[in-house]
């Protein structure tokens, strides 16, 4: 649905986007992840035709955005970082305006439909300028849905919403992903991993990694050491004596009441059971034993910091 080839954008001397290439398939939800200033918004602005690229190629549904900008834009619904709202209009006026702008035929019916989808039916007669941030975001979302575009591009769609609204919007994005191709960006990791089929980590205008959220977390697990957190009821001397008996299977560090074990890759197998029996023998009850999972957050920090060092 979306093909991007060697996309470059310069702002003066600064390379905001530096030769990225990716494709998004029909009905896929792609998450853009990256620290602030990584080039996420710039990329989205180029995809929607708001700014043009220095070089490269963008095709939306097979239509080149330079050759036929109107045709390409017709397939896109865009929710920018700051929703583009006119504060003096009421919500229904605004949504009708956007529908008309996008050439919708039955404006009133379509307006009601997109308002219902995004949960703004209750505020239709209120002025946009008087709405809370969460509602403004939703109105912007509704505007992006106007005209039922095939591609939705959402720049940080859940900013300023409360946790309940975030869950609602996530469900909305997931349901929209069945019929639409969605690209969303965020610097919040849980956000991305919750809804995306595929994640694209951007840093310094380049793609640092690209995979499913699960694979990204898994691949990182292989190269790094596993960590385990345990809490034992007993004297620290006794505990450490037991831990020492494991030799070089792991190194440990005391953190308050707990011990954090850093396991060696080859010894990692079945260490939980071994620990249990060892402490049982020493008559020291294990109160807590937890394997620390490598989250997308670790992958993100790892990848983006690696990039900085270069």
């Amino acid at each position: 649905m979306i093909e991007v080839k060697e996309l470059v954008k310069h702002y003066g001397d600064k390379k905001a986007v530096d030769g990225i290439t990716f494709t998004v398939n029909d009905g896929e939800i792609l998450g853009f992840l990256g620290p602030n200033g990584a080039g996420k918004s710039t990329t989205m602005n180029m995809l929607t035709g708001y700014i043009s690229m220095t070089s490269g190629e963008i095709r939306i549904g097979g239509i080149d955005i330079i050759e036929d900008p109107i045709g390409a834009k017709r397939q896109i619904g865009y929710l920018p970082e700051q929703p583009p709202l006119y504060p003096e209009m009421t919500v229904s006026e605004y949504l009708c305006f956007v529908c008309e702008l996008k050439g919708v035929k039955d404006i009133q019916a379509h307006m009601k439909e997109i308002a219902a989808k995004t949960g703004v039916t209750g505020v239709l007669s209120r002025r946009v300028g008087n709405l809370s941030k969460g509602y403004r975001q939703r109105v912007g979302f509704a505007a992006a849905l106007a005209g039922d575009p095939k591609v939705l591009i959402l720049d940080e769609p859940t900013v300023g919403m409360d946790p309940n609204q975030i869950i609602e919007i996530r469900e909305l994005i997931r349901s929209l992903g069945k019929e639409h191709t969605v690209i969303l960006s965020s610097h919040i990791l849980s956000e991305i991993s919750a809804v995306s089929d595929r994640v694209l980590i951007m840093d310094n205008g380049k793609i640092a990694a690209e995979d499913t959220p699960e694979n990204l977390a898994r691949s990182e697990k292989r190269d790094t050491v596993k960590r385990m957190l345990i809490r034992i009821d007993g004297e620290s001397e006794q505990i450490e004596k037991v831990l020492d008996s494991f030799g070089d299977s792991f190194t440990y560090e005391r953190i308050n009441e707990d011990y954090e074990l850093t396991l060696n890759a080859d010894a990692a197998e079945d260490i939980g059971r071994k620990l249990f029996f060892a402490f049982a023998k020493a008559e020291l009850p294990i109160l807590m034993q937890k394997e620390e999972e490598v989250s997308l957050e670790d992958v993100f920090i790892e990848l983006t910091q690696k990039e900085e060092k270069r």
């Binding site: 035709g49 109107i70 896109i76 583009p84 003096e88 209009m89 305006f97 702008l101």
Partner: protein, 233 residues
């Protein structure tokens, strides 16, 4: 284009701007009508329009300062520029909305002509050419104002820079008088307000019509280019 035109026109009257403009315009024309026509019992609207041209240019930027600057400030240009609408429709829609408010205000002044027709004879040729000329002159001012608004994201900067250009324009005739000939005739030829004097005398000179329409087209075209070029930066 229709959607943008309608929204823009409505927004003049959902914000204070349209009312402020109408009030100022009608107070100004009312005072000028009283001083020129009622007080001296004159039926000709020539002087009324000649004075109005120097004064009206100072209230017309109220209509244009917002056109593009506000969109940039509110980031609503992101909505317009990513909608399946060509740039020329955006610019024309906005320009025509401003022109429509101005034409509406001017239509109200027809009451003065009707008042004159009750108490004397109206010189219709002169009156019609004055209205046509004034509308075109205002079109030029609107186009300049729209262009200045497209250059900035601050309405104040847009308004003040438009005033700066208009002040020079209004005094171009006076400046010309102090200069030796080649410059004098050049400046007189360039000055939009000097051109209006023909219309005030009831002459519909085709060269003046072409001059005004080309100036309007030039600035509308420049505005479209500014919008288009901003995407490249």
């Amino acid at each position: 284009m229709k959607a943008i035109f309608k929204r823009e026109l409505r927004s003049y009257f959902t914000t204070m701007l349209g009312y402020i403009f109408l009030t100022m315009f009608l107070v100004l024309t009312g005072v000028l009508f009283y001083l020129n026509n009622i007080y001296f019992g004159v039926t000709s609207v020539k002087n009324f329009f000649s004075l109005l041209t120097s004064w009206a240019v100072f209230i017309i930027p109220i209509l244009t300062m917002r056109l593009f600057a506000e969109d940039r400030k509110l980031k609503t240009d992101q909505l317009l520029m990513t909608a399946p609408v060509p740039v020329r429709s955006i610019v024309l829609g906005k320009f025509l909305a401003a022109g429509c408010v101005l034409a509406g205000a001017l239509a109200v002044t027809l009451i003065y002509v009707i008042v004159i027709s009750f108490f004397g004879t109206v010189n219709w040729a002169e009156t019609i050419s004055c209205y046509i000329g004034f509308l075109l002159l205002c079109g030029v001012v609107l186009a300049i104002g729209a262009f200045m608004s497209s250059l900035t994201d601050s309405q104040i900067v847009a308004a003040v820079s438009t005033y700066a250009i208009l002040i020079v324009t209004v005094f171009l005739g006076n400046i010309a008088a102090a200069l030796p000939d080649p410059f004098q005739s050049l400046l007189l030829w360039l000055s939009p307000t000097e051109r209006f004097l023909d219309f005030a005398m009831g002459i519909l000179d085709p060269s003046a019509l072409v001059y005004y329409i080309s100036l309007i087209a030039l600035f509308v075209f420049l505005t479209m280019n500014v919008m288009e070029r901003r995407r490249l930066s």
